[in-house]
């Protein structure tokens, strides 16, 4: 237990941890603040103003239409050809209708907590996952690099216990940060919803769904932190994790996309990692193969491939377990020099 508390303290004392936490807080606060300015509460006055604007637009449009019809009839009376210029029947069939001037189009943007907050959970998860990756990789990478790990092993020679305790301290810290900031993030958007948007229809079922999205975000953040920790431990350097991340991004997001495009692989994006991240948050990702359609023959329903969140869990889970098993195995087997 003392080692666990020590590692929590060590992680908290690290300059990078504090710097990244400040950057994360500033980033999230900036997003929330900027977003709050873009949302406007739809008060009865604002709705009435939008309705009045729509009515005015409708009236202007009708007057324009009447003037056009009159001009057309005058031209016909002069014996001129009007069909090309005014359309058939002087455009009488195209009289503007009131429903074509929906007041909604004149309303300012209003944040709808129920409909839009899940997207902001994904944004939050992305930011905290980046924090977890950098802090996780650096926590163990810098320890190896500066000799801290060796010093610690002279005190606690049980290698697996030391690495496991460090991982536990990292995940506990990341979990704590995610839960606390997640609560603040939810409160901030609830506040934006109540003061400058709407929180209507946020039923218990909606909160349950938001809770599940939150759990998915927490799981992703923990997996990212653990993988970064494992990679840096495997390479005994922070740069190993950062290098691996760049390599995976380059291979998955660029290399594979180009390859499946060139080879015309059906549903090629199922081999791209970000598809699984998207599916994890959106519960599923739908991929379409438009090559199966011949649009010249009319409307077509393209072939569909669905990546489920369960498949995402499998991909990320297997990746994380493989990295962690590798890290612990090398910790046990490799000499420390």
């Amino acid at each position: 237990m003392s080692l666990f508390v020590t590692e929590l303290r060590r992680l908290g004392k690290r300059r990078l941890t504090r710097l990244m936490l400040v950057l994360l807080l500033v980033g999230l606060a900036t997003v929330a603040t900027a977003f709050s300015f873009s949302s406007h509460k739809l008060s009865p006055d604002v709705v009435a103003a939008a309705q009045a604007e729509s009515d005015a637009q409708y009236k202007r449009s009708v007057e324009d239409w009447k003037r056009t019809v009159t001009d057309c009839e005058a031209a016909q009376a002069r014996g001129e050809q009007t069909e090309e210029r005014f359309g058939p029947n002087c455009g009488k069939d195209y009289q503007p209708q009131p429903e074509m001037f929906d007041p909604k189009w004149n309303l300012p943007y209003q944040f709808d907590f129920r409909a839009e907050f899940p997207t902001f959970i994904a944004v939050f998860a992305g930011a905290v996952a980046l924090f977890a990756f950098i802090v996780g990789a650096s926590f163990v990478g810098a320890e190896w690099n500066t000799g801290g790990m060796m010093n610690l092993l002279l005190w606690r020679p049980r290698r697996l216990a030391v690495l496991g305790t460090k991982l536990a301290a990292l995940l506990t810290t990341v979990l704590g940060v995610t839960v606390v900031l997640g609560a603040l993030w939810t409160a901030a958007f609830w506040l934006i919803g109540t003061s400058r948007g709407t929180t209507a229809k946020t039923t218990a079922g909606v909160w349950r769904s938001i809770g599940l999205d939150g759990l998915r975000a927490v799981a992703l953040v923990l997996v990212v932190g653990a993988v970064a920790f494992a990679l840096a431990s495997l390479g005994r350097h922070t740069a190993m994790a950062l290098g691996a991340a760049v390599a995976v991004f380059a291979i998955s997001e660029i290399g594979i996309r180009i390859a499946v495009g060139v080879l015309s692989v059906p549903f090629g994006e199922r081999y791209v990692l970000s598809t699984y991240a998207q599916s994890w948050f959106m519960k599923q990702a739908e991929l379409f193969d438009y090559d199966t359609c011949q649009f010249a023959k009319g409307a077509c329903e393209p072939a569909k491939y669905v990546v489920t969140w369960e498949q995402s869990a499998l991909v990320f889970g297997v990746g994380a377990v493989a990295a962690l098993v590798g890290a612990f195995w090398t910790m046990r087997r490799r000499d420390i020099s």
Binding site: S2, L3, V5, T6, T146, G147, M150, W155, R156, I336
Partner: protein, 333 residues
């Protein structure tokens, strides 16, 4: 006297496709008695640090037996780790932590009282700089911090790898006093160093390693005595005659240990008069013929065959592997 540290037939082999097989430790033996300050000497790449790392569980050996405080390693390492303080090679600490933070975290990991941190900071002379970041420390201050971290546990066995590295002369003297004081308080100290004068001054016994094998061991005075017999310094009237003198003596079975610019050092000379006679027969006239009392440095250079030779550049692994003979009292003797 009971042994605090015992090593028998320790082997560590590195295999590489490019460089082939290298035996870092090749059946190395070592024994350190309780309450001693024991010098552990060897040229660069001889296996000193590998031995210490293996003892401390950082390197997995390929064979042999190790025991600390009567407990077999590596099995009992977690049990004895609390009674062994160590620094291995250059001191390495997280640069952005202060000395107090660094030691505080170690003390917490080792479940030691917080006041122990202040005690060791005082002991190594870092009390007034303890709040500063380690990255602002000089090498000598980092070395003091490393010694403080090793002393934190108040260990029974203290293993220090080059503790005087980077210390100023005053610091070296303080370190010498500290080692002596610790030994007098009952602590056993194993000291790896290249400052052989220091080792000779403060150590009760030594082990010398070369190419992964022990080449000498025992109390310092016995090691010196065993290698000081028959060492003679010879100067000639004409310096230009030294090469011919060296050749003549070598031909007659006398070992020329070193050939300096203005003199020769001979070893294994029973009768100095014989040297004088042999040279005179060749028309070479001696201006000085002095029996030399050897110091640890010359013994070390002789045993490890690492004395510099004019015009040659010795490579790191060029040192002697001697049959395991030594003075009495060592493990396996």
């Amino acid at each position: 006297m009971s042994a605090v540290l015992e090593i028998e037939g320790l082997r560590k082999t590195y295999r590489s496709r490019k460089r082939g097989v290298r035996h870092a430790l090749d059946g190395f033996d070592m024994r350190v008695e309780a309450g001693q300050v024991h010098g552990f000497l060897g040229p660069n790449g001889s296996g000193k640090t590998t031995t210490l790392r293996t003892l401390l569980g950082l390197i997995r050996p390929n064979g042999g037996r190790m025991a600390i405080l009567g407990q077999e390693l590596p099995h009992a390492l977690p049990t004895v780790a609390g009674r062994v303080g160590a620094i291995v090679e250059s001191p390495q600490f997280f640069p952005h932590f202060s000395a107090r933070d660094t030691l505080g975290l170690l003390a917490q990991a080792g479940e030691l009282p917080r006041q122990r941190v202040d005690e060791v900071l005082e002991l190594v002379g870092l009390r007034d700089r303890a709040g500063e970041r380690v990255k602002t420390y000089s090498l000598g201050m980092k070395q003091r911090l490393a010694v403080a971290s090793a002393l934190l546990k108040n260990p029974k066995l203290l293993i220090l790898d080059e503790p005087a590295n980077g210390l100023d002369p005053g610091g070296i003297r303080e370190m010498r006093g500290l080692m002596r004081g610790l030994a007098e308080s009952g602590m056993t100290v194993v000291l790896s160093s290249h400052i052989l004068g220091e080792i000779q001054l403060i150590c009760d016994s030594v082990t010398i390693i070369s190419l992964g094998r022990r080449v000498a061991f025992g109390p310092v005075e016995e090691v010196l005595a065993a290698h000081s017999q028959g060492t003679v310094r010879v100067r000639l009237e004409a310096v230009s005659d030294l090469p011919q003198a060296a050749e003549t003596l070598t031909r007659s079975g006398i070992r020329v240990a070193t050939s300096e610019a203005d003199h020769l050092m001979l070893s294994g000379v029973d009768k100095p008069a014989e040297v004088s006679r042999l040279l005179a027969e060749q028309g070479l006239y001696v201006s000085e013929l002095t029996p030399v009392a050897v110091d640890l440095e010359s013994v070390f250079l002789e045993l490890t065959a690492t004395a510099p030779v004019p015009g040659q550049h010795r490579q790191v692994d060029q040192s002697a592997k001697v049959d395991q003979t030594g003075t009495a009292g060592g493990w396996g003797a």
